[in-house]
Symmetry: C2
Subunit: 478 residues, 2 copies
């Protein structure tokens, strides 16, 4: 691995947030730009974060009864065309395979931008009776959308995700599944990623192509822009009718199934970076950090120091932690900077004097707090400190979100907030698409969601002044 | 899930092996044919086998120091073109993406058939010094080859695999890595899949496009045909020169790296099916079986039976086994057939009389052996019996391979064996491509490998009668 160079400073977050982001993802060795336009390489450090995310979510999905499958990566054009809204939403941004070897294909195939059509086609074949329901399937794959402007994790032509696709006997059951999975995402963001989110429903303008309802979790980045972090869609029986997915119910009637889909992608790694990162680089939540504890020996050449460091590593690994001891010949200060850049939650420093005193120094990445602790019960101390790191990160992110959440009752106010204090803006909305479009045009903000937790911010639509139907959270978004 | 129908008999293995195979993969619900020509759907039961394979191999790779990454799925045509032999080998069978949305691409992209070119491109960028070596990377992805004749697992246009790609400072180290990973595959086949293999080197004709040497493990299927089950390639510095991957060595000289790649794919699931399966369906090795123990209650309506079954399930799950208790209202005999079809290694039957006697019946899938065992220490009994199943399966497969391995010293003999007793044929070879071509033309057999364990079968080439250079194992292959 290329040596980390301390003099390669990253751009300050408040100087140029976009450049800071690019510097951090590259210098922390999470990604590398590839010679395939719009696609990036997930390097070991970046991919390991995704593996940890996968492991936690996959276990949760399975605990709830979901099974993994693998659908083809190609969708014949005629299959994509079957559901009208869906094809209109996705056709403009798919990659088309037109040739196999030197032969022109009889029918073009797109590389899946999402797999509803494939799952529906399969469900139509395997679902016959109420006994076959529910079907709770998921797959971990990459998908392709031919985006024009790309940025690592946030928007790339190919990205990794999981897509859950379920089929149910009733509308109620499908709706419950949609909500259940949205809560899985929200809980995961809070408990594993230390990211607070707002849960709500997308407006018709912003919902998924072909969905009856789309639910979303929205997070707020350090720069005050929003990031849609996970979505869950209730399809009703729209796809079932387009693909003729029927089953014989207990009453012997043929009925259409009700379907859902839900997904979380490598985009969430962008959220981790932009919610928690600082001017020294990444700050990773302990649950998904590839290295949770970096052990840096001090005065390594002194007898017993390297051995003691390895001994601590063994103790912590046995307790289940992901630990790296750095015995390279770089100066300790350089190592500190490197693990700071990589966002390692805890650093342990151990030198001759510490060993004499049966202690070591633990430094928290999130707030720089340094404490000398006993080597007795070190695993318990690490457990406690990692929990503090997680809680500290969550509290800080929540405070940031709350401080950057505003209310507006008229367009002047809204415009003013968005342009001077980027963040979430709560404002009432009449429900008309025209107002939604106008708000975007005037402020650059889109409706992020109609929060489940409604508040009364006023009586009238922030845009047209007509009676308000809902409170909406608005914001500029990635 | 569609109910298993006992009257849907599968075709006998000896009647029509190809049809037996198709029946088994479909009726065991491993795969479903898709409406994407040449691609199949891996259903939960089939994908779970792949997940178990992944889990075991991935842990082994990581133990040996490999790191996972994710490269783009597309390769620009100009990048594929960089290594001459490589592009000639793969270009005829790749899928070409020519359009993104409605725009024609400036340069065609192929969907990766394998990723050497992408890794090389990346390595050229990140490798600078001997300190950056070795690079031990791997990725778990699907790849695409535009095959004309496809069969589930054995040959599909899209298939799942892992591809390891490593770069080393010396030729010796690269060669050692190539051998090390071939041994990982061979050990995995023996210890996890109960499949014996022959290890050896591919002839120049059969080696990977662009490799200096290809090593392979070859397994023998029930019908006497061979299946290449894993390969490991030593590239020397050929790719390094084509892609200019140089590093400053300790002596301050700029040198080319030496590279390897190695892969195992979902094809290996085809081997599991065709090595172990029988006329009742799949027979899965315990290490990768999605369900290791199926518990079938007898006289389930009697009080206490279902509860006792669930209690056994809890005991076995706590001991780490993958267990399913079938409390559906199907007859026990139907359940027996269903779990036989699915190749579940052990079936436990428990009824009122068993409970009275504090025992249950354990039935082995591999040989049908039935024994009544005490419920005391059931987890230990299951552990012991699963080990016996594994060993029994391996012994049976090894005996089959040995019984179907022959020697030939002239072409009449060779032709006779191949056409009447399909299997491996050991025969001497002069080393000329012409003889290799002629043997294929006359017998349909290809050179499977030049085994590491050479034997002296004769002095002269089986084909031309000139002095022999090597003993080769020949056979018809999937």
């Amino acid at each position: 691995m290329a040596e980390f160079k301390k003099n390669d400073q990253i751009t300050g977050m408040n100087t140029d947030f976009a450049q800071w982001y690019t510097d951090v993802v590259v210098k922390s060795e999470m990604v590398s730009y590839s010679n395939v336009k719009g696609c990036v390489i997930l390097r070991p450090y970046g991919y390991a974060v995704w593996e940890n995310i996968q492991r936690i979510l996959d276990a949760k999905f399975k605990e709830l009864g979901h099974e993994n499958v693998a659908m083809p990566m190609f969708i014949p054009e005629s299959l994509l065309d079957k559901e009208k809204d869906h094809v209109e939403g996705f056709a403009p941004e798919v990659a088309w395979v037109t040739h196999g070897g030197s032969d022109k294909l009889q029918e073009r195939l797109c590389v899946r931008p999402t797999s509803e059509t494939l799952f529906c086609d399969h469900y139509a074949e395997i679902i016959h009776s109420y006994r076959d329901l529910p079907k709770l399937y998921n797959q971990w794959v990459s998908v392709v959308r031919w985006e024009k402007n790309t940025r690592p994790f946030l928007r790339t032509r190919e990205f990794y995700w999981q897509e859950g696709h379920t089929a149910h006997a009733s509308a109620e059951e499908a709706e419950a599944e949609t909500q259940r999975m949205l809560n899985v995402y929200a809980d995961f963001c809070r408990d594993a990623l230390a990211i607070p989110v707002i849960k709500g429903q997308k407006t018709d303008k912003e919902k998924f192509a072909g969905a009856r309802a789309t639910y979303t979790i929205e997070a707020l980045m350090h720069d005050g822009q929003a990031l849609q972090s996970g979505t869950s869609h209730d399809f009703g029986d729209g796809f079932a009718k387009a693909f003729n997915i029927q089953f014989a119910d207990k009453d012997n009637q043929q009925k259409y199934v009700h379907q859902t889909s839900w997904g979380m992608s490598t985009r969430i790694i962008g959220a981790i970076i932009m919610v928690h990162g600082d001017n020294n680089g990444l700050v990773l939540p302990p649950a998904v950090a590839p290295i949770q504890v970096a052990i840096v020996p001090i005065q390594m050449q002194k007898p017993g120091v390297a051995d003691k460091a390895k001994e601590l590593e063994a103790t912590l690994k046995a307790a289940g932690y992901r630990v790296r001891t750095d015995l390279s010949d770089k100066m300790p200060g350089w190592k500190f900077s490197e693990y700071e850049m990589k966002g390692v939650p805890l650093r342990i420093e151990i030198g001759p004097r510490d060993i004499e005193n049966n202690c070591c120094v633990i430094v928290r990445r999130d707030n720089g707090e340094k404490q000398s602790v006993s080597l007795d019960n070190l695993a318990e101390t690490v457990a406690k400190t990692l929990a503090q790191v997680h809680d500290g990160m969550y509290a800080k992110a929540l405070a940031h979100m709350e401080e950057h959440t505003f209310s507006a009752t008229d367009m002047n106010q809204m415009n003013d907030i968005i342009s001077t204090h980027p963040g979430f803006v709560k404002a009432m909305w009449c429900g008309d698409r025209a107002c939604e479009d106008k708000i975007k045009e005037m402020t650059g903000a889109t409706s992020r969601c109609i929060p489940f937790q409604q508040e009364h911010v006023g009586d009238t639509c922030v845009c047209c002044g007509k009676p308000a139907a809902k409170m909406v959270v608005w914001g500029r978004a990635y």
